[in-house]
Subunit: 227 residues, 3 copies
């Protein structure tokens, strides 16, 4: 059991608070936001303190942290806040749903958030700050690098590598041995049977993103809210 | 624990009887069918009584009901029988598999039938008489309206709305924020990234239903039995 | 509880050893390989004996066997070794993950290997030597014939028949009432809404295998390692 500070006061922080409280050994004791966004000093019944000097209130020797943010800026915001928290000296706790069947512990880094109803095969490696939402399959000996985001109902076959900060959309299917490039975007319901290039956008038939890099594409998609 | 009457003596009633008996606090005590279909007065070891005056045999003050029918007539038959049972004064019990991981109770109406191996995210709302078969993902804050049918291995992203009596086929993927129109049909293995119109038919590449409304389409499909 | 001999000393044998040891009533006591491949007399801390006369070391009256091999030669290698073990008089144990929710026992043959996070509906029949990896849905009253291989996140609707030695790739969706022909190959992420012919290859849009039978196709795919 450890006492955690959660970053943010938005939906991510709320979701993390609810899952960590109901289904982990951790106890959330406070929230922290960038000082410029600090409007209220309480959220969900707990104190909110400025991130700039969170370590004065909740020193990293005694408290852990967890940061669950959206995939904005191709996971760039999440990567940056994770790095900031590490610079401040925090250990970041990972949440792994108790609902996942395992015969051995998952090989996983810090600040991951992994929900229920998934199959994660043997000898999978998951880096730091990885989100694996619900109902995915991660195949034998696959590797998911830091800051990547796997949505829901994704099928990752065996010996796949998902690069840093890559985003894999709902219902995508990735064949054996494929490498998903760092910072690349894999659209919903896409079959990926060959490697994808760093920063590339790959979309299902009938959708296009000609000449657009993944960061730009995601910005446009988020504006449309139909990601 | 409540005592239930099941509507029908077909496969739906059999499946409901088996799941309710093995995995709920309810006890099935009888079956009821439309008088015109009452051929045998016993089914699966229990009495069968005519639906027209079921309330004389099993008064709604004492007994509950459950109705699991197929999606014939774009869920119209199910919607009608549900309304009839409500008119007679019954409370209809919902079945939710004990196998679904939840940190909070599901917000769900009457007479739903929700099977195993699913992820249902936070703050999902499910109306009355909704079927969610197996292995689906229903995303954060999505809403499923009355009488809808979600098949299996469907991915519903966040903030999705599934309209009344809509049918969503196996392996379909519905993007964030999409509205599936009332009475519309979403075919198997389709990516839906924009709203669908009421009564429309949407099908995967290579299949067509030009100029056909969903009710007609479903009638044709059921005749072919390859839905 | 029974004592088992595992065939092979490759990844399949390792995976079977780990799942059987951690999640079954069986105890693995030895490995066996074809004499020509017998390089070391120990594997994973247990004896390795030649398959040609395994019954002298571990008689089939006392020991069971399990064989988990890959889908090489369109499941032909697996089918052959299974037949050899039966000829020697062995009973082959099936592994079914404890993580699968069931209200009745699965109707299943010998030497199956069925992993976690799956929904297997009522009245499904599974033959001998069938592999059903993770996170699949097998619908009501479907039948999977001997030596077939179902990968992961496959959706098999109701009343489907999967023929002998057929291979169904990750993320495939098979509609109600479809028959997948014996020895046929269904590619990843494919919607199959009609029957497939014996020995045929069916692939998602954008991939082709014109004029190639399934056994040839699989040989080419395995060489590319992007199955």
């Amino acid at each position: 059991m450890s006492r955690l500070i959660l970053f943010g006061t938005g939906r991510g922080a709320e979701v993390a608070h609810r899952f960590l409280s109901a289904d982990s050994e951790h106890q959330v004791v406070a929230f922290t936001v960038d000082g410029a966004n600090l409007k209220e000093d309480r959220y969900r019944g707990l104190p909110v303190v400025p991130f700039e000097d969170v370590q004065r209130y909740y020193p990293p020797e005694t408290f852990g942290m967890h940061i669950l943010l959206g995939y904005q800026q191709m996971n760039g915001l999440r990567a940056r806040k994770f790095a900031d928290a590490k610079t401040k000296g925090y250990t970041l706790a990972s949440y792994v749903s108790s609902d996942i069947f395992r015969i051995t512990p998952i090989d996983i880094g810090e600040n991951c958030f992994i929900l229920d109803n998934q199959s994660i095969s043997l000898d999978v490696k998951i880096g730091n700050n990885v989100v694996v939402w619900s109902s995915n399959h991660i195949g034998d000996m696959s590797q998911i690098d830091d800051h990547a985001w796997i949505a829901s109902h994704v099928t990752v076959a065996a010996n796949v590598r998902i690069g840093e900060r890559a985003f894999v959309g709902i219902g995508a299917t990735i064949s054996n041995g494929v490498t998903i490039g760092a910072d690349s975007f894999v659209g919903a319901h896409l079959l990926v049977s060959g490697d994808t290039a760093p920063r590339s956008v790959s979309l299902a038939e009938g959708q296009s993103a000609a000449g657009i890099d993944a960061a730009t594409f995601m910005r446009l998609m988020m504006a449309r809210k139909k990601l």
